[in-house]
Symmetry: C3
Subunit: 113 residues, 3 copies
């Protein structure tokens, strides 16, 4: 199993989720984050008083999936979330050792199907 973590523009999330659903990817977790890339933040402020310096609001989407689905998901994220402008975001891929569905106790691939 792999975790695909996409850090995207917030306004792209809805169309990404729709495209993922079309190919049967329904399980995902979303967080509000802020960040900077090579160009540093110049478009906004992160909420809270702790951050006087500029950071750009982003959405982090995490999907734990079968390894064989990673390439398809990356293609969907790219086609849905790219605007050709700096700041479109990043995708990171991690290995996942195990998964458990809390309701049933199913583990491994059964837990994410």
């Amino acid at each position: 199993m792999k975790k695909v973590e996409a850090i995207i523009r917030p306004e792209k999330f809805q169309s990404l989720r729709e495209k993922l659903e079309e190919v049967g990817i329904n399980g995902l977790t979303v967080s509000e984050v802020a960040g900077c890339g090579q160009q540093k933040g110049e478009q906004g402020l992160f909420r809270g008083q702790s951050f006087e310096i500029k950071l750009v609001p982003k959405v982090k989407v995490e999907m734990v999936v079968e390894a064989e689905h990673v390439d398809e998901i990356i293609k969907i994220v790219q086609s849905t979330c790219s605007t050709n402008q700096i700041g479109d975001g990043k995708i990171f891929v991690y290995s996942v050792e195990d998964a458990v569905r809390i309701r049933t106790g199913e583990v491994g691939l059964q837990a994410i199907l």
Copy 2:
């Protein structure tokens, strides 16, 4: 070392934390997230205007622990956070390469004891 990441119902967090303390697991990090599983979100909205589609608020609990404690923690999460209703959440397990306690510079297992 392993990271156990549990995505649970927010209202279950307090009893989970109490049970973890009872077995000596004190170090954890909590985030407010939103998500959908197989059943998609139908119970709430994520804060912020970016999300017109339905997502269910969840809490993500991350615990970096000795590998030998993973099974015990999974059992505690399941016994504490399962309601037998859809949407009880998921547990994911990851490998952690190193840990550092910032205050002392201790690394590895010493950093998480």
Copy 3:
């Protein structure tokens, strides 16, 4: 590639970011989290009604970097974020299997340079 995840005092974030920029680390993602370590939370409350028990607000900084930069980043986090008081935080290091720059489709190290 590695992910360096630092969970720090919120008031330390700005000086950490400045120090990282000085050595050319510009890509990072920030989240508001809450947590407890060995001493448990006794200094604040996490936002939201779900958490009646005490948790300390922290900031999570995630940086995906070339493996050879990990030690330097750890040193910077320690020198910038340590106050010698309990609760300075933790650093965790994870392996990252791949990265993609969404705008260009670049993968691997090219995606994070």
